[in-house]
Symmetry: D2
Subunit: 147 residues, 4 copies
């Protein structure tokens, strides 16, 4: 199984909408079960002590994992996040943050993903966040605002 060029481009352009576009996250590369994204850090991405906010890195880790999963499901399905866990390994403070997400267990319904977030520091990329996420594939027709 491979990712068609049409589907690849559709996923690349679908990635940055709403909150993700507003924050400034961009996809760099996508493949079957894989997505890499980046963000150029601005002042509004930092927290009270000048570090990049955990929420910025989490949004990136979650969203990239979701789109890595999205490469592996039927076109009429959508991905929702069931849950995730993130470890913040060291403070991030540079001007460029990279995320690499991959599916570690595909499934028809449940997909488990990992995301690594890197801070592009002077002496090289540093792993700053390790995320483990569970995604669910839902037929688009079943996406609803009722519980």
């Amino acid at each position: 199984m491979e990712l068609s060029e049409t589907r690849r481009q559709q996923i690349m352009s679908d990635y940055s909408q709403g909150f993700v576009a507003w924050c400034g996250f961009e996809p760099i590369e996508v493949g079957l079960g894989f997505l890499e994204a980046r963000i150029f850090i601005r002042d509004e991405h930092r927290q009270q002590d000048g570090f990049i906010h955990a929420g910025v890195m989490t949004t990136m880790a979650d969203h990239s994992a979701g789109y890595a999963a999205y490469t592996m499901i039927p076109e009429d399905h959508r991905i929702l996040t069931v849950e995730f866990k993130m470890n913040f390994l060291r403070p991030a403070f540079s001007d460029l943050v990279i995320c690499r997400a991959r599916v570690i267990k595909p499934g028809r319904k449940i997909l488990v993903c990992e995301s690594d977030v890197f801070d592009r520091q002077k002496n090289g990329e540093k792993l700053v966040v390790k995320a483990l996420a569970t995604m669910i594939s839902v037929p688009q027709a079943e996406l609803t605002r009722e519980d």
Copy 2:
């Protein structure tokens, strides 16, 4: 032990800076080991399917848990997030999201917190995110950009 009025006000005004102010999160109430916050949802907080982005709710749950922890540490210490896990119980789509965070295990170094995030829907508040987070208290002087 109680939270002094001075400290309470300092924490209220410290809460909204950088990414958190930019997104529009506001604290409503703070007490010893407790913080409640809200956000009025705008289009830029949503994702590709119109739901509120998991990253918005995660930022709120993490930041509020951090400040709930911040009420229980010495004034010359700061809180960093060690890790968290969030379960997304149902989609959120309303115009107002509320977060209630509390410390469930204080400690001199490690503080464990819970955050509940609610979507203010037509038929009442719905619990949409359940978060469990580990925070660490660090002397401000030790906060550094070196690893």
Copy 3:
């Protein structure tokens, strides 16, 4: 919806099998979306420093959450653990450990549960583990050893 007496008794007797029976976990009470269990601690439940092993408390928290979920699904379905996260709040060392598990979000397919584990110490019950778990309901006929 309520739990029939027949189903309640079936779940009580189903709880302690295999690893769970061997370790000595016993159910005390079960209701719709709820289960309480206990274990009398023996030397073989401890770790190298004399504390109760995290694995003992995790097994209890996971298994009890799974059976709390089991009360809310059709009789021809089974529960599998998708994932869980546990925070170890303080060391446990007493002779009696209690677990209270409940479903915080039922669902046809995915059920989210919480478990609290308590150590019965001299000055009362102490919360020692806080767990958040995701369970999946699977038709028994689909349980298989093939991937």
Copy 4:
């Protein structure tokens, strides 16, 4: 920094005590920030549907991560588990389970570890559990039964 032969042997023999020895977990190999262990599965390690109990694999993942961390701390310190999260990727049912744990972020106080658990099935090793764990290094003199 390397692991001395004396220390390596001390850690190998320290690994299997209490609950871990009783269950039958054995260390196979240990290095700086790394530990591999195994267990030969007996009936008492299974659950009600014949699969290996999540508690067995969790105990192994947690304990092995703890000892991987233990290789990186001073000899008068001990490791306690702060928290972990485990994803159960597929059912395990074979007769031999292997765990490989490694420290992904060492630290003076906090160490973050990953454990992979594999089921030795007919067609090869299958990754069945992915774990992400936070450990804390505590001076042995501070280990206490008081809170």
